[in-house]
Amino acid sequence: MADVLQARHVSLHAGTRLLLDDVNLSLRPGEVVALIGPNGAGKSTLLRVLTGYQLPDGGSISLAARPLEEWSNEALSRQRAVMRQRSGMAFSWSVEEVIAMGRAPWPADDTQRVVHEVMALTGSDSLAGRDFCQLSGGEQQRVQLARALAQLWHKGQPHGWLFLDEPTSALDLYHQQHILRLLRRLALTGTLSVCIVVHDLNLAALWADRIILLQGGRLVAQGSPQQVLNETTLTQWYQAELKVFSHPEHPVPQVWLQQ
């Protein structure tokens, strides 16, 4: 259990409001975990707590068998990277400059090489030399993902924990598929653990090994896509009328809304 992120009985309050309530989970290398749940369920808050940005009121989080609070911020920055929903830049930076910022925790000698590698992987090499501020939302997402990957890049492959908050929200179909396939493939190297917040349940079903369903700050369901994405569970927690079918080509559920 040396390289597992483990959260035990994690809770967090904002005033009297309970944002997270007794959350238990673990993230293992080699795995893609999707965090789903209705709006305001606490997904982004949970991400902030798991990444060490916010300390929980109760419970504990450990990373590689060491409590998170014992990690120095610098050491942590070489082990986990985060891509948030929106991040803009006030001034004009080139795509390469933004991605190179992901190398800040590392010695500068191989910055150029790593930047090229992650740009090619994420399909942002076609954006080389462009001004980050003038990219479309989807293009910015690809660049930010490249930056997060660059942060974890070590000896030709990614290591550690990658947290992504809606990385595909502005991507077209081609790039949704491209990025999720990429994350899947990178996780399979066995040294990377991916945790994605997604709204699109069908994407989660296709590419996640495990799905965690949050509602009202509580972890209400957890398991394989088949276990979590069923009509009873989803109707109960999302309050939407929907049908669950099987994907025609893959053994995973797909969720369809009713008119």
């Binding site: 610098e74 803009g88 830049m89 006030a90 004009s92 400059e97 910022m101 800040a104």
Partner: protein
């Protein structure tokens, strides 16, 4: 987005500043060329060049660089191209203290009385800097709160200076309003060294924080994830740039425009990377104030114009022209 190589550009700027400084030190109420100084062993001429011209030129470069650097840090910290050194209320704190010293003069010994406005300005700006320092140590959204505090300090001090000008006599009023237009007439080796002893270490400190300031551009949370101690970095940058403004304002009064515009111009030219932007802004700010001050003391010689007026008069149209040219380029 092809940009010139930053290193070469910085060298060019440095050389240009050196040449400007040499030329500026030869110009004045009396023309002194270096060649003449070298050949003619005239103690009086040498004295003028060494003890009047040289400190003045160096002070102009020092203050110009400090103002531009402080503006550069403010814009980076607030991620806003409209931020400038006046934002935190440091110069208005200094203005208030100067107003007090002018309108309510203390019985100071003659030596101190000469420096009274300068000491007052320094104490005033230091007081505001301390307020900023203590505020920045507490609270979460400290940066946006500081902005509001700065607005409040600006308004308060502005009103208090207004009251002082209202009760002052004509001579005091003139002294007060001239201070508000900035002047480098206080240049001597002693004031130059005192100013430099604040500005040089503060600038060095900021240079060391340049790459962290770059990471802050991604956002506070992103910078934290990249291993930056966000609060501490912000606090250090804030205090260092407040010190820069305090030292500059104390010796030269209020000189506007440089802190707002120079970082902007250099950013258009060298890009947003603070590792280049910081030295570039320092050099360009030094050049602008040097040119403005040389004009200020030669155009109406033997009198002097307030240099703060000239920086805006010179820089304003140039800046406007640049903005319009840039618009045409992006539109066409």
């Amino acid at each position: 987005m092809r940009r010139p190589l930053p290193c070469q550009t910085l060298w060019l700027l440095g050389m240009a500043l050196l040449i400007l400084a040499l030329v500026a030190s030869n110009l004045g109420a009396m023309r002194l060329s270096i060649a003449v100084l070298w050949q003619v062993h005239d103690e009086a001429l040498r004295h003028i060049w060494l003890n009047i011209r040289l400190p003045r030129v160096l002070l102009a470069a020092l203050v110009g660089g400090a103002l531009a650097l402080s503006g550069c840090v403010m814009q980076g910290l607030f991620r806003n191209p409209l931020a400038d050194p006046g934002l935190l209320g440091i110069s208005s704190g200094a203005a208030l203290a100067v107003g007090l010293s002018v309108v309510l003069p203390l019985a100071l010994p003659a030596v101190l009385a000469l420096y009274a406005p300068m000491l007052a300005a320094f104490l005033g700006s230091l007081a505001v800097t301390l307020v900023i320092f203590f505020l920045s140590r507490q609270g979460n959204n400290s940066l946006s709160r500081l902005l509001l505090v700065g607005i409040a300090i600006n308004a308060l001090c502005g009103a208090a200076v207004g009251v002082l000008s209202w009760v002052s006599n004509d001579a005091q009023l003139r002294q007060l309003s001239l201070w508000g237009m900035g002047s480098l007439g206080q240049a001597q080796w002693s004031t130059l060294l005192a100013t430099a002893s604040f500005i040089l270490p503060a600038s060095l400190g900021i240079t060391f924080l340049a790459s962290r300031l770059n990471l802050l551009q991604l956002g506070d949370e992103e910078a934290h994830y990249l291993g930056v101690d966000v609060r501490r970095t912000q606090r250090r940058l804030l205090i260092l740039s407040a010190l820069l403004v305090a030292a500059a304002v104390a010796v030269s009064g209020v000189i506007g425009f440089i802190g707002l515009v120079i970082p902007h111009l250099v950013r258009m030219w060298l890009g947003a990377d603070h590792r280049w932007l910081i030295p570039g802004s320092v050099l360009a700010g030094a050049m602008l104030l040097l040119v403005a001050d040389t004009l200020a003391r030669t155009m109406v010689a033997p009198a002097e114009m307030p240099v703060g007026l000239l920086t805006s008069l010179l820089g304003g149209p140039w800046f406007l022209a640049l903005i319009f040219r840039q618009r045409r380029e992006t539109d066409g």
